[in-house]
């Protein structure tokens, strides 16, 4: 339980606040860099000009506005959502291994979307976020129930194992559906690897409002997560209605995960990596961890996506592949430390 220390350990409010402008600055920088770098290199100045003073006749401005800006916005939203969801999950389940992808939520959302589009034929974009939410919620509940049944209760290990089992099961079903319906496979193949390339930004119209609400909700609930992370008895003793709080947090996590999956496909390990990194700097007070995780997650995904775009020039690596490559070693390290 090394990661769960007393709240406010070594975090002075003044010091905690001071990080925000720094992170915001880095975020803006990463955002501009993400837009500037690519097949056609643009200067940061051009990017800023295109964003502030758009001129339709300038080709570079069109590149920025139509091709690169949507992707950068997507990276910010998805990165912030997933790492905030991960931070909340780690607090609620008191589990350093919690992550929307590891605990099966992402697989549930992806499964629901695949079933809806290929079996039920629901291709309208309006439904996709809601279907994804249903899937994520169902998967979360099943994983939690299974882990509860394991002798010893919902420990990090049993949660992770049951998450892995559910993910394996759902991905087997997804594969069966694919084989039965080869036409949708071409469309879904790239989506299912998780990435930000060629995403439909208009989906943001439907996904944006719930994500914004959930992000705000997550930040508002964060102070009480600190208490919850000390254990249910302690939280109840301090007057927190743990049941209601858990339901609210579950709703926030499900909405954030499902909308991220709808936007960018299943991206693993962002929710695992970022909260742990943030915790190194701000201690274990979720009041700070949660907003910092959102900012750092946005920066992280912008950075990863920039790497994905420029690593092997003519081609592009899927973003989800890189997040897994970075996240999996950290997971291994956490398991090593945790079960030593």
């Amino acid at each position: 339980m090394s990661t769960i220390a007393a709240p406010n350990s070594g975090t002075h409010p003044v010091r905690a606040w001071s990080g925000v402008p720094v992170l915001l600055g880095v975020l803006v920088l990463a955002f501009l860099l993400h837009i500037a770098v690519g097949a056609k290199q643009l200067s940061i100045g051009t990017v800023i000009e295109a964003l502030t003073n758009f001129d339709q006749t300038v080709f570079d401005h069109v590149i920025v506005r139509n091709l690169r800006l949507p992707r950068a916005v997507l990276a910010v939203i998805v990165g912030a959502s997933l790492s905030l969801a991960g931070a909340l999950m780690q607090g609620v389940t008191r589990n350093p291994l919690a992550d929307p992808a590891l605990l099966g939520l992402t697989a549930g959302a992806a499964f629901a979307v695949v079933i809806a589009t290929s079996v039920l034929g629901l291709t309208s974009m309006i439904f996709i976020p809601w279907i994804a939410m249903l899937g994520a919620l169902g998967a979360a509940l099943v994983v939690y129930l299974i882990a509860r049944l394991v002798p010893g209760g919902a420990t990090p290990l049993s949660l992770t194992l049951s998450g892995a089992a559910i993910s394996a099961f759902l991905s087997a079903v997804i594969s069966v559906v694919h084989l039965l319906d080869q036409d949708t496979f071409e469309n879904l193949r790239v989506w299912l690897t998780g990435g930000l390339a060629g995403r439909d930004i208009t989906l943001l119209l439907y996904v944006g409002p719930p994500i914004a609400l959930a992000l705000i909700g997550g930040v508002l609930l964060a102070p009480r997560v600190t208490v919850l992370a000390m254990g249910d008895e302690v939280a109840q003793g301090l007057g927190v209605k743990t049941g209601a709080l858990k339901v609210q947090l579950l709703a926030v996590v499900v909405v954030l995960t499902a909308c991220s999956v709808a936007l960018a496909g299943p991206l693993g390990f962002i929710g695992l990596v970022i909260p742990h990194v943030v915790r190194l700097y701000v201690g274990s007070d979720y009041r700070w961890i949660v907003p910092y995780a959102a900012l750092a997650g946005a920066i992280y995904l912008l950075g990863v996506d920039t790497i994905a775009r420029v690593a092997i020039p003519p081609r592009e690596i899927s973003t989800g592949i890189i997040t897994a490559m970075i996240g999996a070693p950290l997971f291994v390290q956490l398991v090593r430390r945790r079960t030593r």
Partner: protein
């Protein structure tokens, strides 16, 4: 087992050699062989080109009914059926050996990353170096699998010795890492090769040919006796490392040998049909449930269960959605995951570590 199991006792005349064979296990073995045989015959008869069951039996006995039937049965369906049975047996034995070495009822080659290591090696061969001959596949698969196995062993061993649950979680972490590389190759490889690799990755037996059967058969005849040979010593390691050491077993050597054989079995099976998930998990548990027996007989029953399971999965996957073939690996995963969950819920080891 409430009542003590009945045994047949076989003695040679001078009573130098005596075998005490549990009746129930022998009956189970016979029944499983029968199931396997029936499944194989039905599998030979099922397909787009209809062949009656008695025609299949006649063809197998050497009577030629027609060129077409000969062709279908001998060239297409027979190798596939044999490959399914062999692969099932190998995966089951690999799982049993893994469960023994790690003393972990949840171990399975596809869960601890061994299959994924083999898969990455094979996918990189098919996608990146398509000109390399297929004969190299088993070796590449073995190399990939053994590297992953060594990495997991190294990572999960600390000064306090290895922990069973850490082994599984390490495997999950590593296999995610490896699959991400595999999917990178898949997404950006040529679409035709990627499709070929995809159906292979789902654990499909439909492309099995006679050369595959020979590969599998050869390795099986090498590895099965080896596994049986070391299984006697390993039955002591089941009782815990300390007990085994005090009984005079060289635990480290046995452990490493067993692990190597488990990896080899899984890697070779994977190189032919792709990662077949959860067979190695299901079969040993089923075998233990069907008939408690000594470790040698238990391994035989395990192999039989695996063979019957994969043959059935292949048959169902082929027949259920007739023109479309569902790879056997997906069906075994669909059966295996619920079982994994049941085992997890029942286990005590998950909580105590």
């Amino acid at each position: 087992m409430s009542a003590p199991a009945r045994h047949w006792v076989l003695r040679s005349k001078s009573e130098r050699i005596a075998l005490r064979l549990p009746v129930r296990a022998l009956v189970a073995l016979a029944l499983l062989s029968l199931v396997l045989l029936v499944t194989c015959c039905v599998s030979l008869a099922t397909g787009t080109y209809g062949v009656a069951l008695n025609e299949v039996i006649d063809t197998l006995r050497g009577f030629s009914i027609s060129r077409a039937i000969d062709n279908v049965v001998w060239e297409f369906r027979f190798p596939r059926t044999l490959a399914a049975a062999l692969v099932g047996a190998m995966m089951a034995l690999s799982g049993a050996a893994l469960q023994n070495t790690t003393r972990n009822g949840l171990a399975d080659p596809s869960l601890v990353g061994v299959s994924q290591g083999a898969a990455l090696a094979v996918v990189s061969l098919t996608v990146v170096f398509p000109d390399v001959s297929g004969a190299l596949r088993p070796w590449a698969a073995f190399a990939g699998a053994i590297l992953v196995a060594l990495a997991i062993q190294g990572l999960s061993h600390t000064r306090q010795g290895g922990s069973a649950i850490r082994f599984i979680l390490m495997g999950i972490g590593l296999s995610t890492f490896i699959s991400s590389i595999t999917s990178a190759l898949m997404t950006y490889g040529d679409i035709d090769r990627a499709m070929a690799a995809l159906s292979w990755l789902a654990g499909s037996i439909n492309a099995a040919s006679w050369s595959d059967v020979w590969t599998l058969g050869t390795w099986c005849t090498v590895l099965l006796p080896a596994l049986l040979a070391i299984s006697r010593s390993s039955s002591a390691t089941r009782m815990g490392e300390a007990t085994a050491i005090s009984l005079g077993v060289r635990t480290k050597l046995i452990r490493n040998l067993q692990l190597a054989i488990a990896v080899a079995l899984a890697a070779i099976a994977t190189s032919v049909v792709g990662p077949l998930g959860f067979v190695g998990l299901i079969a040993p548990h089923a075998a233990r449930r069907i008939a408690p027996a000594g470790i040698g007989l238990n391994l035989l029953i395990t192999a039989m269960v695996g063979a019957a399971l994969v043959s059935l999965a292949d048959l169902v996957g082929r027949a259920a959605f007739a023109p479309i073939q569902i790879p056997a690996g997906l069906l075994t995963a669909l059966i295996g995951v619920p079982l994994f969950i049941v085992l997890m819920v029942r286990s005590r080891s998950t909580a105590s570590h």
